[in-house]
Chain length 331, copies 2
């Protein structure tokens, strides 16, 4: 067996039963991810340390920790593990995604396969998947009533993979409908947020009947996050996005602004088929109202999520979840 001293389970045994303030839990989650990446076994440490240079904003972890808050406003150490597992799973999918998309920049730094080669990037992604599994499985069952996050997360893992496959299978499919698009992002991005909200709920002291509400809020936030990301690919600058922009269309990834523009501007399909420069496509999508339409969809999901959050009985989480919602929708 590997030396498990890197896993959170062994990091602070004396404190394992103490509950944590949200800010402290969030800091510990970041530290945990950083530690697992920087102190990985020597064989893979160069690659994981490279990833540790830019670990993202941790919005999925924050969502999980917020949902995991108890009536006392505190969260358990198990929630820190679950949050770190979610971030590692997300990172694993990004590493493999970047191979699939031939992306060369992520979070402002070279992608793993560009820096170290494609083969080791496949294996490093596998390692991160397995590390996420390992961490999710290490959450003590006594921290949850009944269903364990360690038991809940895995079924989302397969769903997230299927979302990636759905996106890949529809690369360059100009006939993709809006309905099909929503089904794909529901798997690809929304499922990861659903998993975060669901696991957080299970680690909280909320009554079982609140579970569906959390899952639905997670889904809405995930949809918003993806729709905003789709817009940013068209309207952001590379400096601001910390990754190349206009990559979705370059790689044939179908996004809602483009799908709408293809509906609104019947000449666009022919132009794309005849070859269209990226900036010309951007201009066409903007002119056809693709961004406005996507923004209106973000607004719809935002309203739904806002209503759902208002139904929650846990008053202390409402403000924080609303902030998270606004952050997801920010353009």
């Amino acid at each position: 067996m590997i030396n498990k001293s890197n896993l959170a389970s062994n990091s602070a045994p004396a404190l394992a039963t103490e509950r944590l303030e949200y800010d402290e839990a969030q800091r510990l989650t970041e530290l945990e991810v950083e530690k697992l990446l920087k102190n990985a076994p020597p064989l893979i440490r160069r690659q994981t340390s490279h990833l540790a240079r830019a670990t993202g904003k941790g919005i999925r972890a924050r969502a999980l920790l917020t949902c995991a808050m108890g009536g006392d406003g505190l969260v358990s150490h198990g929630a820190v593990k679950a949050a770190a597992a979610i971030e590692l799973l997300h990172l694993a999918t990004l590493v493999h995604d970047d191979i699939i998309d031939d992306a060369d920049l992520r979070r402002g730094i070279d992608t793993l396969h560009i820096k170290f080669g494609q083969k080791i990037a496949v294996l490093c992604g596998d390692y991160l998947f397995c590390l996420a599994f390992d961490l999710a499985s290490s959450i003590p069952p006594q921290e949850t009533d009944g269903d364990k996050p360690g038991g809940v997360l895995p079924s989302y893992f397969t769903e997230i993979c299927l979302g990636e496959i759905g996106e890949f299978s529809n690369t360059g499919n100009l006939d993709l409908t809006e309905g099909e698009y929503f089904r794909i992002i529901s798997g690809k991005t929304a499922a990861l947020f659903q998993a975060s909200f669901h696991a957080g709920f299970l680690l909280s002291d909320e009554p079982p009947e609140a579970g569906d509400l959390y899952i639905e809020i997670g889904k809405q936030v995930g949809m918003i996050f993806q729709l905003a990301d789709d817009c940013l690919d068209f309207i952001s600058s590379q400096k601001k996005a910390k990754k190349p922009v206009l990559t979705d269309c370059r790689h044939g990834v179908m996004t809602l602004p483009l799908i709408y523009a293809l509906q609104a501007d019947k000449t666009l399909r022919g132009k794309i088929k005849n070859g269209l420069a990226e900036q010309e496509l951007k201009t066409a999508v903007l002119a056809a109202g693709g961004i406005e339409y996507t923004r209106s969809k973000i607004g719809e999901h935002w309203s739904t999520a806002k209503k759902l959050i208002s139904v929650l009985e846990a008053e202390n989480k409402k403000t924080q979840l609303e902030l998270l919602l606004d952050k997801a929708a920010a353009l």
Copy 2:
């Protein structure tokens, strides 16, 4: 969430508490793997159905089920799930391995990336990893005392990944020592067998103190299996091995017959560096006694494993584990 009706948990709820004869459990494991592959979600079904055409001999599943046998000679439904999880995990690593090694044939059929492309093969491997994890997590904790296989397997998952990385990192490394080689195969192949024996033990009614013995037998059987595989790459025919032979040396994978030959024949290193045809390398390795030496190592591990098996108190498992041992060592 995905439709989970494909998972074993829902396949025969009425029978879930009944215990199974070994042969029945083995048949159900094969059916379970086949069902999960053939009835996968449509997005990935073509790929997983292709894999279902040749699912291997299931030696790891058999090992797990044998170890899981209780004093009554029966095994639980949880053991079937764990055995199917081990086979799916193994399959996931094979799919990604074949990408890394540019292999074009596996178990007598085209490899996945040759038939469907590299990108979808990466995603399909990810899906199988997640499916294995999902299945492992679905084993009811009441079927085991204390540690769950669902909690035990994931830590082996990371170890197996590291083994793959270790092998890849040493591709073409003619300076690899025998000690380093054994450390690599200890991660790569032996860890998967250790996981099978360990999970089987946890699902059995053996006393806790027998755990280390099972893990050690698993490690020995895994070593033997890998050493035999290394030999077969040199001495088998493609028809018999159902995969191309001499692929290890073609891809620069360092195996014990070659490592020994490099020690015994000091002219070999120079010849390889100057370029040596595969058949010439085979002749040189055989002439230097690389196969005999590897066979002698198989013999040593076989004797160790045999002794360890004889110490087991569960009389009804001994014969079956000895058969498994002989099968692993068969050349």
